[in-house]
Symmetry: C2
Subunit: 129 residues, 2 copies
DNA sequence: TCCTTCCTACGAAACAATTCGTAGATCAGA
DNA sequence: TCTGATCTACGAATTGTTTCGTAGGAAGGA
């Protein structure tokens, strides 16, 4: 799997990517500390996962220090878009509307969020004319 | 795993559920025929998957005939909502807005769909006041 | 009745994802 | 220098998912 043909990250991989996006760059220990705060997990588990993610091209790393420094290769938004597209295809028959409806039903957005969505809607409908 | 504690269906399971939702009830052969039209797959693979899904409580079955008749236990919308909720949590930090934005960016909805979303938005904002 | 076809059940292989133990290198402080 | 802490690498166990081969039973037609 090359960098340009990255597939859906697994659950554990996504958890790690979230930490990397949040902090920019991380050592294994940095990531481990965040993960282990949320749930029981072992240091070498995190290490192994980052090594695998490196092989897959999901992350890059700087090996110039003793503690390697990892970085997500894809932007958060790009990965989010990939995941939404995947779900759209697998579960919603490609219907963006059905997905959006279920998303809004699943967890009600705040007033501000709804306004933001409305703004986007205006833009999109503007394009269409 | 009981019927009330069903977890995210796997990719293969979701494919089968889609067929069941579409047709209501199906024999293994019915499902197999639909799946094999889309891609190479074996009859006993479909059979085994349906047996596993039955054990997991994802489907029910009528064994009164020689060919068992399967039926999805959860409604399509309920499963869709579960999957969206799952993605919302795993990839979007619970932000419905971010998910909706990415969904609309991923695949542009038609004019009619956008209007439908706008209608829903009006409803939601109405509630809020 | 015998043969073919279709069905279920089931074990197991193949593969992927996750976890962890252990080994060896490096480095800092006593 | 010795000791302990920390790092990477890596093999392997474990668990979950998907695929498929084979066996045995039931049904229908020649």
């Amino acid at each position: 799997m090359t960098a340009n043909d990255v597939s859906r990250p697994t659950d554990a991989e996504l958890e790690i990517l979230k930490v990397l996006w949040e902090r920019g760059t991380c050592t294994v220990r940095d990531v481990f500390e965040v993960l282990s705060a949320a749930r029981e997990t072992g240091y070498t588990t995190t290490l192994k996962l980052l090594q695998i993610m490196f092989e897959k091209g999901l992350v890059s790393r700087d090996e110039s220090q003793k503690s390697h420094v990892y970085k997500a290769r894809a932007k958060q938004q790009a990965t989010q878009r990939m995941l939404v597209t995947d779900l759209l295809t697998r579960a919603f028959g490609g219907s963006t509307e059905k997905l959006v409806v279920q998303a809004l039903a699943a967890k009600k957005a705040s007033k501000e969020e709804l306004a933001e969505i409305r703004r986007l809607l205006n833009e999109l409908e503007g394009d269409e004319q």
